[in-house]
Amino acid sequence: MDDRPDKKKPNQQKKSSSSSSSSGVSRRDFLKISGVSAAVPLVSEVSALAMADDVKELGPGKVPVTLSVNGKRLNAQLEPRVTLLDALRDKFELTGAKRVCDRGTCGACTILMDDKPVYSCSVLAIDAQGREITTIESLGEPGKLHPIQQAFVDHDAQQCGFCTPGFVMATKAFLERNPSPTLEEIKHGLGGNFCRCGTYAGMREAVMQAAKTTKGA
């Protein structure tokens, strides 16, 4: 424990990056790649690997982290192992994104990173620096709901509501890609999120309504 580096060691940093280029992908890089590419299907392997080339070794102690969330710059001291989800929830008290499976399966933690949906449990907070992060909190609030949120209310597409913020964010990203989806396309487009109470009947209707009301918005 006493040899825990509190600040960056330039020689180690170099060694680490050279090993990554010789063996292709180091373990740390793999975590980055698998985390990012699994969560962002639209990011190609090539760009993920390109990112890995300039990885700096950080930690294991706390490091300064600056995130751009809902148009605001937020600063915190975080260990590099802290996920974006935990940073949002526990440091910045943006608790709309939920921690459920904590391993990129259920979608309850879905947020947008540069307008692409990602599972924030599978992105490290340090890797989210320099990206535009959008959470459910920026979409609307009671009294002035976003049309997608309103559609979820109108069609009762929520019961306990724990999965709802993730579904709303996934719907937002989905409708941006596909503004006029068919029912079949909705089934595939929202297949990355799970609901336990079973609100899918209302949800299909809600997404259809939202597709109509968000058009041109």
């Binding site: 935990d86 929520q158 509501g161 709802t164 297949g191 336990r196």
Partner: protein, 791 residues
């Protein structure tokens, strides 16, 4: 004034302004905007984070615990040993040590530094193999054995004979005898227990199986002799978990050394103080419990649980600072929720016309270390001649908890599968078989009507075909049916409703909204009674400082809260009208409140707006209480439902696809049609997941759960559920029974209906849930072995 008992009656259909309508849930905007604060979202000043050391063995003794290294770790505030040396662990993942630290990474590092030594003991996690040659117990009955026999409706002569021949280990005291009489236990049993020989307790053999007394009804020998057709089969479903999306857990803090404040994810806000008090040795009155929203419970969140108590303990050790500990996903699935399994070998006999004559079942299943009882069989249909034998399997799979409609889905699956196989043997449409036998159910008319409506929704007559004639292609289509029941009488409830002189209205209740729409229903009842829109009423629930309310389980909430709210609102309304009457120059009973105005019934232009009426109160608000049970007859119990499923099965891959499912459900008087329908949709979707995907898969070698995550403990996704149809029974014959619970009943039928649809499609029974592709292929190729060969 109206009669004291009838004045609370539900308004007539033509007078209802809110009750029975479709109203969007009032907390919908908070939820869809991410603003709803669940326990998991609560941040308290200076909050610490918990991490727990869990036992990796399914059965073990703790021999040593060393927390010294953990205590010295940076950021660690307190370490608390939950189960110290000498403790026996009965399932993998059980809690041993809890650490509280300044953040989660520090807490998990410290938990990793705790050294625990175990002496592993033999474990047993096989609840699937049918127990053979299990000896009946012969030793004297302890009180629990006796009560279990009564609970399981063992016929009186059998209980009397067991009491006389085996004797008892307890002295039947007056309190017990009084309780028996209260529960209408027969005098023959009561006198037998009084005269039974009292013997010293014998140690029960340490066996994995506990055989329960055989139950018989009618004359099963004669019944089977008279039967013209007998069908035999084996059916079952595994242990599944609740998989609440918000895991169990709490944030505990001590404002001072004697008082606990707990934010906790619970279905039982008013019922936890006593449980905390017992575990923490403080008076129950010193415990404050709060919860705004809950991310799923499904029956698994009624207790403070071991983790509720140790989170409070470690907070106390940390000087009372708030400590959050919410279970991680793996322990959530391993230790925080199990629905008991049930398997049965069944024989059922009938006449050629389908009249049911006799039932015989040998069932087994596990509810964890305690074993558990048999599911209700035969389900819904009281077949006149029965013989039933159940063996409880005692395992290290984890403790059982109530899961929506405890034991009913299992009993329904086994019964409806057996009847469906019988119908196939009779070459009869299974709907016709049910219709033929409705006279042996408790609500023949309801089921007849529901089966008719469901048949219409599914176009059953056109789409049903005899078993195995699901088309000549690789993909076969089939239909299946099941009927179900539930009680659902409202629980105890207290409502405090206040009308303030400024016209504002608030309601306080120690209830909770599980996502079923409880908040909205309470407001609709109050609004309907007071002639106000629901946004003019402020509702406070989710705190044990409000008037106590029952736990939300067994579909008891709607009956409880709707009737207590109705009584409180009627009482408040009458007090207000009495105050206002002189100003309108009328008697109180001549007044009504409609659309936000108090007016004279016979002369509606003589009126006062709500605000002006309330101003007549002067400075003192009106506070009225309403209770359930209370005066008047507002609720009842007992409902019926019918489910039909339409599936396609790929006979090459074994994949089952849901085409369509319909549920026709009765629940008495519906308060909010919109959220009621949502409950039924949700129940059907949960049923699809339990039928096709869910199983707590145990590793026989290590005794641990192999799929404690949401990749391999799979729920249904939006693309898995097919078309869904819900029809709620309303109007005459239903409304006058008052509100009856709805959370449980529609969860019961889907598993049986889907399993029957699969059998109808592919021509053979897939006996065990979940109906995985592997099991479909095994059922289609019985000579090539398969996972059910051991039964």
């Amino acid at each position: 004034m109206a009669d004291e008992t009838t004045k609370y009656d539900w308004p007539a259909a033509n007078e209802r302004t809110l009750i029975g309508k479709r109203v969007s849930r009032v907390d919908g905007p908070l939820k869809s905007s991410g603003r709803a604060k669940y326990t998991y979202d609560v941040h308290r000043p200076g909050m610490l984070y918990g991490s727990v050391v869990r036992c990796p063995y399914a059965h073990a003794k703790v021999t040593a615990v060393d927390t010294s290294a953990a205590e010295k770790m940076p950021g660690v505030a307190a370490v608390h040993v939950i189960q110290g040396p000498g403790s026996e662990i009965h399932w993998a993942g059980d809690d041993v040590v809890v650490v509280a630290a300044v953040d989660e990474p520090s807490a998990s590092d410290a938990a990793r530094a705790v050294k625990v030594e175990y002496q592993p003991l033999p474990h047993f996690v096989d609840d699937f193999t049918q127990p053979k040659n299990v000896p009946e117990e012969h030793g004297p009955l302890d009180q629990e054995d006796f009560i279990t026999m009564l609970r399981n409706d063992v016929p009186d002569p059998q209980i009397v004979s067991a009491l006389q021949t085996r004797g008892i280990t307890f002295k039947p005291e007056k309190r017990l005898l009084d309780r028996l009489r209260e529960n209408e236990v027969s005098e023959s049993v009561i006198s037998a227990v009084q005269s039974a020989p009292v013997k010293p307790a014998e140690e029960k053999p340490a066996a994995h199986y506990r055989k329960e007394a055989e139950q018989t009804k009618g004359d099963p020998e004669k019944g089977f002799k008279e039967a013209e057709v007998v069908s035999e089969g084996v059916y079952g479903c595994p242990v599944i978990t609740h998989c609440c999306l918000e895991s169990h857990g709490s944030i505990a803090e001590w404002p001072d050394s004697e008082h606990l404040f707990s934010h906790i994810s619970t279905q039982n806000v008013s019922g936890l103080a006593g449980q905390f008090a017992q575990g923490l040795k403080i008076p129950a009155g010193n415990v404050h419990v709060h919860q705004d929203h809950i991310g799923g419970g499904f029956g698994s969140k009624f207790g403070v649980d071991r983790w509720g108590v140790y989170t409070a303990e470690v907070s106390r050790k940390a000087g009372g600072k708030p400590v959050r500990y919410m279970l991680e996903r793996a322990p959530e699935l391993e230790v925080a929720g199990c629905r008991p399994s049930a398997h049965a070998r069944v024989k059922v006999g009938a006449k050629k016309d389908g009249t049911l004559l006799a039932w015989e079942s040998e069932s087994w299943g596990t509810g964890g270390p305690g074993g558990g009882g048999p599911p209700p069989m035969p389900y819904v249909l009281e077949i006149p001649n029965q013989r039933k034998q159940h063996v409880a399997v005692l395992t290290n799979i984890g403790p059982a908890r109530a899961w929506r409609a405890p034991n009913h889905p299992q009993g329904c699956l086994i019964t409806m599968s057996a009847l469906d196989d019988l119908a196939a043997k009779l070459n009869m449409d299974p709907v016709e078989l049910l219709l033929k036998n409705l006279s042996i159910t408790q609500r023949a008319d309801v089921y007849r009507e529901e089966l008719g409506i469901a048949s219409g929704l599914m176009d059953w007559k056109k789409n049903w075909h005899p078993r195995g004639q699901g088309g000549s292609g690789v993909t076969k289509r089939g239909l299946g049916v099941a009927i179900h029941t539930w009680g659902g009488r409202g629980h105890e409830s207290n409502c405090a409703l206040t009308i303030h002189p400024d016209g504002s209205v608030d309601i306080k209740m120690g209830s909770q909204d599980l996502g079923t729409g409880t908040r909205t229903a309470i407001l609709m009842v109050a609004g309907d009674t007071l002639g106000l829109p629901i946004d003019k009423i402020q509702l406070y629930i989710g705190d044990n400082q409000y008037p106590p309310d029952g736990g939300s389980g067994g579909s008891t909430t709607i009956g409880g809260v709707s009737s207590s709210t109705r009584r409180a609102a009627v009482n408040a309304r009458d007090q207000l009208l009495a105050k206002v009457a002189p100003a309108l120059n009328a008697k109180p009973e001549e007044l009504e409140i409609v659309n936000g105005a108090v007016r004279v019934k016979s002369a509606p232009t003589r009126r006062l707006l709500w605000k002006d009426a309330c101003a007549r109160l002067g400075t003192q608000p009106i506070q009225a209480m309403g209770k359930n049970p209370g005066p008047g007859d507002l609720i009842s119990s007992g409902v019926g439902g019918a489910v039909m499923a339409d599936v396609s099965v790929d006979t090459e891959t074994g994949i089952v696809k849901m085409n369509k499912m319909a549920c026709v459900q009765d629940c008495g008087l519906i308060i909010n049609l919109k959220t009621a329908e949502s409950q039924v949709y949700g129940a059907m979707i949960m049923g699809i997941a339990t039928t096709l995907y869910e199983e707590k898969v145990m590793d026989q070698t290590t005794g641990t759960m192999l799929n404690p995550n949401m990749d391999f403990y799979r729920l249904a996704g939006i693309g898995d559920v097919g078309e869904l149809k819900v029809h709620m029974m309303t109007g005459k014959g239903y409304d006058e029974r008052g509100p009856i619970g709805l959370g449980e009943p529609p969860t019961v039928g889907p598993m049986a209906a889907i399993a029957n649809a699969v059998a109808n499609a592919i021509g053979v029974r897939v006996p065990f849930m979940p109906i995985t592709p592997e099991r479909v292929i095994a059922a289609l190729n019985p000579n090539e072995g398969g996972s059910h060969a051991s039964v």
